[in-house]
Symmetry: C2
Subunit: 410 residues, 2 copies
């Protein structure tokens, strides 16, 4: 239908918003132990080499490799055992030709040695002498200085989401204080005369606030801090003052608009008056979620989500989540897993818009299929009973039962 | 090689540990706003129906559907407009035949009405009269009581990891206090005379503690609380007393053993003495990670990881992470995403064990390939430079370049 041709596709809408977001992430310093899933604001390089000394990778004897050349079961080499390398300290001796020293996995290779013979291919024949039953090559079973990372090597780049192993690598280097992007505070303001807080008893005609909880979950997952600012009535001055207050205390504002056209129009007017340049996108070619508003008010993003809970979550995923990654300076935001499965039912759609249909994965003859959960966009439970969303692209007029669909998993 | 045939495959090892874990998750009550990623300890059902009143899904007029039958552009039906349904309250009128009332999206359907005519197919012809240009069927554009969820319907089952939409659904029902599994406290004790805290300057022969940070990250990701208990020297009594203390304050203990055989043997002796039944599994058919120990001490799991950082992370993923989900009572633990890609190099392996090889994804002629990062299991940076791990199954003797491998992404 023509209605979707005069609004922007979601990727173009997001690009338009991002054009006006020029702020850089604000760094804060944290301990590496608290670093999981935080986003670095600068490249971190190794200040030292690891290992910082040559280390044995085996339990065995440190030797000069050349002393073992030709050694075999039938013709062993004999070396004099001059000591044991203590764990956690440098040996207090150097190795001379035809000498060997006991060394444990992770122990330091003494000066003069260049390889380790595994204990399994040796025999202790007396107090201070060993038989070597197999030759080793130079460097065998030895980790050299810098073999793990060399001094100056980049550990992680700026804009990287820290993983468990990154924390370990930083600890290995003695880097315990790291700079990461401060978590953006995302103000959440619900609107609508019919909306009451979840704690409230409801009267006929009222519903409880869903979006301040579901969208908050999406914000947390993306690395933001949701700041619930309550519920504003469908009254221009009150909504405007609440919205301005919410935005001034946060890095971004997400409004979920009232569901009626007049309430939505009022929300749009309020958003446009919050600051310059105001509304950049009004309406996106997405179902559900067409009435989404993207705006920037004095450098801060303001996103007006549709009030219906399903639309709100779809559009939060499309616009709020990427905006948080943008505020964090994250270079490669993670994406949800997708699978391609046959659909169990025909699904109607219209060219010109992207459709998101809640769906569950079912088994049919031992194969995974995806079953659409048809419902209205105000039925939050369609998402609760779903495993993901079928995505029907802009060029499609719908899907036939048995066709393969892309399913974005939750 | 025979060495891997006298140790258990990872799944059997884990099953043996789980046989001895009989405790049930301890519930705590939290606010729904804090519920993301927490695991429910009981089934939660709807105490009311949603919606709790018939609601309009459109902006339009509430009508008796039968009054509109036959209405068309050329032959409109005329209805008398008796009022407007306020948002957030019940209308103070009932509808009689041939009457209509203005209703907004989300507004309550007045008694006597059974459908909503979209505003777009109507015309207001005078103050109190409208023209209806298209018929509606009974129930059209109306969400009935319980259409989202009916009273008594299950919202989430016990052992469910709460997602963003679940929080919204609970809020919709007015369920703000929920019972979730208390996060298990996982004590982490590093051992080894050569290991020092990351804050310390290191001398020759020393290395900084990696595992207490990398494995801690894995614990957080799985929903546990890591409790770092420091570093114990390779000294039996000190290690035993530190381990016993750590376990008594936690729900589980994870030790990362010293890297030498003698240090590992000592760790095994300590673990076995912590409580009954003691060690259940000593050695698993995994590379890296063969020396892993699984034990239960008086009902609490104790896991001895190999000291090398790569082995420690591989085995934490195989044993610590599933144990945390078990302690949480999580019914379907999430799994990491896998992809199947061609390998760029031959990879040696041995039948009888599962191999995990750090690997990065690269582009070759516009296609994704996976490139193994060869290194020793004490090179934590092999994991930092990796995108995931190639998994080579028990029955395989290795992979040829160009063969398709399973890659478990981080």
């Amino acid at each position: 239908m023509p209605e979707f041709f005069n609004v922007l596709p979601p990727d173009e809408a997001l690009a338009k918003l991002f054009e006006h977001l020029t702020s850089t992430p604000q760094p804060e310093t944290i301990h590496v132990a608290d670093g999981l899933d935080r986003v670095t604001t600068e490249s971190i390089r190794a200040s030292v080499s690891i290992p910082s000394f040559p280390r044995s990778t085996m339990d065995g004897y440190a030797v000069n490799a050349r002393d073992t050349f030709g050694a075999s079961q039938t013709l062993p080499t004999y070396l004099s055992l001059i000591g044991e390398v203590p764990m956690g300290a440098a040996p207090n001796f150097d190795l001379k030709p035809t000498q060997a020293a006991l060394v444990h996995t992770g122990g330091m290779i003494p000066k003069g040695a260049d390889a380790v013979v595994m204990i399994e291919v040796t025999q202790r024949i007396r107090e201070n002498e060993i038989e070597v039953l197999k030759a080793v090559a130079p460097n065998e079973n030895v980790l050299q200085i810098g073999d793990d990372i060399g001094e100056g090597g980049e550990v992680v780049s700026a804009g990287h989401i820290l993983r468990a192993q990154d924390l370990g690598g930083l600890a290995a280097l003695g880097i315990t204080q790291i700079k990461v992007a401060r978590k953006p505070r995302i103000a959440l303001l619900a609107t609508g005369d019919e909306v009451v807080a979840p704690e409230s008893e409801i009267s006929l005609g009222q519903i409880r606030d869903v979006n301040s909880y579901s969208v908050a979950g999406q914000i947390v997952r993306a690395g933001g801090v949701p700041v619930r600012c309550g519920i504003a009535p469908d009254q221009f001055d009150q909504l405007k003052s609440k919205a301005a207050q919410a935005l001034s205390d946060a890095d971004a504002l997400v409004l979920s608009a009232g569901s009626s056209v007049s309430a939505r129009d009022m929300t749009a007017d309020v958003i446009h008056q919050l600051g310059k340049p105001g509304i950049l996108v009004h309406g996106v070619a997405v179902k559900p979620g067409k009435p989404t508003i993207l705006a920037v008010a004095n450098g801060k993003p303001v996103i007006g989500l549709p009030g219906n809970p399903v639309s709100a979550m779809v559009c939060a995923e499309l616009f709020v989540v990427p905006t948080i990654y943008r505020l964090l300076g994250c270079k490669t935001p993670p994406t949800n897993r997708s699978v391609n499965l046959r659909v169990t039912h025909n699904i109607a759609s219209q060219a010109g818009r992207v459709d998101y249909v809640p769906a569950r994965i079912i088994q049919r003859d031992g194969e995974d299929w995806v079953e659409p959960i048809f419902g209205k966009s105000n039925q939050i439970f369609t998402l609760i009973f779903a495993d993901g969303m079928i995505i029907i692209g802009r060029d499609s007029n719908g899907m036939q039962s048995g066709e393969v669909a892309e399913v974005r998993l939750f």
